[in-house]
Amino acid sequence: MAEFVLRRLLSAIPVLLLVTLIAASIMQLVPGDPAMVIAGSGASDAEVQQVRLALGLDRSFGVRLLEWYGGLLRGDLGQSLLLNRSVTTAIAERLPVTLALAGFALLLTIIIGVPAGIIAALKANTAIDQAVLMLALIGVSVPNFWLSLMLIVAFGVWLEVLPAGGYTPFADDPLGWVRCLILPGISLALLQIGLLARITRATMLEVLRQDYVRTARAKGLPIRMVVGQHALRNVLVPVVTVIGISFGLLLSGSVVIETVYSIPGLGRLLATAIFSRDYPVIQGGLLVTAAMLVLLNLAVDLLYAVIDPRIKHDGRS
């Protein structure tokens, strides 16, 4: 197991370096640079050039890239060109916010999506099943930015029961922290709930058709025991895979939600950095995001071994 983990981590290093190289190269192809953003729309070309020189952007791409990789070896992701702080600090400030939002959305996804899928499978081809499928379809179809604005208007403006936006750190006010995550969490989770419910339903239907489940039912076991002790564990492997993918999508897909709700998370940081061409933040942010996805995939693989004892990560299978 330890060897498996170590092997996966080592193999991730070239992947992460490639991600940053591709990101940096693509950003060089995109016209514009942060000097234009800093100087502002009223600046002349000479004034923009002045900013460019002050920021060292007149140096070649190769020199700047090598400098960044050199810093990376020392654990330094560089200095943001626009945020007045190091990239590490900027990410460290925002990562917990995105993790909190994605984690909350994932919790909603699991506690709603899995039971909904199970119930739909158990009540297949009934009105309940059709209702779950319809709600799942709505979930995957509704644009999350539209839903966000509707939720803000309904709960933030009309009913005034939840904040219309912004973020309260947990340390400042735990209840405020929960309240500010509810609406964005729902907006973010709806799509994943729909997907997870459908996958769980399909997998559960497949498992319920197996001989051992039919045997368990024939023995007269209550349905909750059939599902809980026999069927569920076999459903979990594909469902955990989808949950892992969902969490990855929640982490990387929070940009729109963070922008609409004005939440200072990593997604919004990256989006802003791309539009303002803040190269160190883009490279550092993508490196951290890619690293999180690598770790997430590793965690899912390790979870397989927990769920299904037949799966071993010791090189033998």
Binding site: V30, P31, G32, D33, P34, M36, V37, I38, A39, G40, S41, G42, A43, S44, D45, A46, E47, V48, Q50, V51, A54, S80, L82, L83, N84, R85, A90, E93, L149, I152, V153, G156, V157, E160, P163, A164, G165, G166, Y167, T259, V260, Y261, S262, P264, R268, L269, T272, F275, S276, R277
Partner: protein, 525 residues
């Protein structure tokens, strides 16, 4: 003589005397109480863009200025009528030959670090400005900065610059006065210590900027109240937050929910919707910017003035502005706004002609063979985006072949200097026209020359404008300048955009301006 015995006071009598004493104290203290302003805890302003820097020398960005001009102040600035007025300077004296300016400083002005502002700080700020500021050319004529005493600064110039104080008071990259310790700091790397009524607390780059009341700030009693960037500035909040809320729908929702007290840039459709909401007040900020487009004189077919003229007279400015601004606009041909002393209407004969037939005739004369007119616009500013769509359709109706390229703002800016990439580059000219005639369309002048090809006549007119020794002479030159802009189609002006801002109805004293002024603003119960 015996002393009459003291009769002990009963409880009732003691309470009466105590009550009378309290009433006397309250009565005596009432004037003092009335003078002590009631301060609320926090004022929250939602703005649409994050400031790229808070160093006022290092950006022309509105979002920088919104915040920085609460932290910093300048020697001279502009009042509500855009006239040059003193701020940190107590008195300004120009020598008879125009080669030196003496600034006597106000005394007792404190920086946020507690130190008093002196001439050494002013000199250091001027030296830093000359070194790193984007508009350091303003100080090019300054050959020496003398400080004969702690409250006097003398600037010596190599040549007479009649508009020197106008340029010194420009708010595009304001000449903010900072402590002398900041002299050698590079651009964007300055400590945020100023003399303004609010002092810096915290900056989360994509979340908020937090400022707090500077308790040692002494309002400038030369003014009665709010007056442009100057004025008697009093803060009635302990803390002011500039929240960064990019999405306009989220800004409006936050205002309606009471999370924000004031918001920047209210979308017109939202303004119509919330007009009947008694809890919200909506403000018109007229003359926010000139909506228009630069015209490329280097790239065919707009390298031919007949084609440019055809393009110019074909346009229906009313339709363009109506759609681009959702009805929040004023149509007028001037490059300065009505009411401004330099407002002239030269060139009006070419403005808003809606003459499609005349355009077609000119195209035929020019031998136009269907060469593509490439329009560059951006998705970041909706008014520019929509204006480009309407202009494209109007030009097609006049016989032009048109292509629109839409980019994000940074890409559009990068393309501006590529003379082969565009014929029309859509923009909004904001600060320039507001600063005055010398900055109104400075970008047509060399070396910037946004039209790509230099125009020696306009260059000469600009030099004449800034060296004109009397107002009448400068106005006459500006008339010729504007005439030339229209005659050669250096810039296509569509109209003047009106911006909308909004606040909670219990916000009093807020007057919209080039920046959202948080001074003299109160919350009414």
């Amino acid at each position: 003589m015996t002393t009459p015995p003291q009769v002990p006071l009963g409880l009732y009598q003691r309470l009466i005397r105590l009550g009378a004493l309290c009433a006397l104290c309250i009565y005596g203290a009432t004037p003092a109480l009335a003078q002590t302003p009631k301060r609320a805890a926090m004022l929250v302003f939602a703005q649409e863009a994050p400031p790229p820097t808070l160093d006022p020398y290092f950006s022309t960005s509105i979002s920088t200025r919104n915040v920085a001009m609460h932290i910093f102040e300048t020697l001279v600035t502009r009042d509500e009528t855009n006239a040059v007025v003193p701020e940190l300077a107590d008195k300004i004296t120009e020598s008879t030959d125009g080669l030196s300016y003496t600034f006597n400083l106000r005394r007792g002005v404190k920086f946020h670090n507690g130190a008093e502002m002196t001439s050494a700080d002013v000199k250091a700020s001027l030296e830093r400005y000359k070194r790193v500021a984007l508009q350091k050319v303003i100080l090019d004529p300054v050959t020496a900065i003398d400080t004969p005493d702690a409250y006097t600064v003398v600037l010596r110039l190599s040549k007479r610059v009649p508009v020197f104080l106008d340029e010194l008071s420009s708010f595009v990259t304001p000449l903010a006065i900072m402590p002398a310790s900041q002299r050698d700091r590079e651009g964007g790397k300055v400590d945020l210590i100023g003399t303004g009524p609010l002092q810096f607390v915290d900056w989360q780059a994509d979340s908020h900027v937090r400022l707090k009341r500077f308790p040692d700030y002494v309002p400038d009693r030369r003014y009665k109240g709010t007056d442009g960037f100057a004025g008697r500035k009093e803060i009635f909040f302990e803390q002011v937050d500039f929240k960064l809320v990019k999405d306009p729908g989220a800004r409006v929702a936050g205002l309606e929910a009471g999370q924000f007290h004031i918001i920047e840039d209210l979308p017109i459709e939202s303004a119509k919707r919330i007009a009947s909401n008694k809890a919200i007040a909506v403000y018109d900020l007229k003359n926010w910017w000139l909506q228009g487009a630069w015209v490329n004189h280097a790239k065919a077919p707009t390298n031919d003035n007949r084609v440019r003229r055809a393009l110019q007279i074909a346009l229906d400015m009313e339709e363009i502005m109506e759609i681009a601004t959702d009805g929040a606009y004023v149509l007028q041909p001037g490059l300065q706004y009505p009411g401004n002393p330099y407002h002239v209407t030269n060139g009006a004969q070419f403005y808003n002609k809606k003459d499609t037939a005349g355009a077609r005739k000119l195209l035929a004369e020019a031998g136009y063979k269907g060469e593509e007119i490439v329009i560059i616009t951006n998705s970041s500013y909706q008014s520019m985006y929509k204006a480009a769509q309407v202009v494209a359709e109007q030009l097609k109706a006049a016989g032009f072949k048109v292509r629109i390229d839409v980019f994000d703002w940074a890409t559009a800016m990068a393309r501006r200097s590529d003379g082969n990439a565009w014929n029309l580059w859509f923009t909004g000219q904001g600060s320039g026209p507001s600063v005055g005639p010398f900055a109104a369309l400075k970008d047509v002048v060399s070396p910037q020359k946004n039209q790509i090809t230099a125009d020696p006549v306009i260059d000469a007119l600009y030099t004449e404008l800034i060296t004109g020794t009397t107002f009448q002479a400068r106005k006459a030159t500006f008339s010729k300048f504007q005439e030339r802009v229209y005659d050669q189609v250096l810039f296509l002006k569509f109209g003047d955009l009106t911006r909308k801002q909004a606040s909670r109805a219990n916000v009093k004293g807020f007057v919209p301006y080039r920046i959202p002024r948080m001074w003299n603003v109160r919350l009414e119960d």
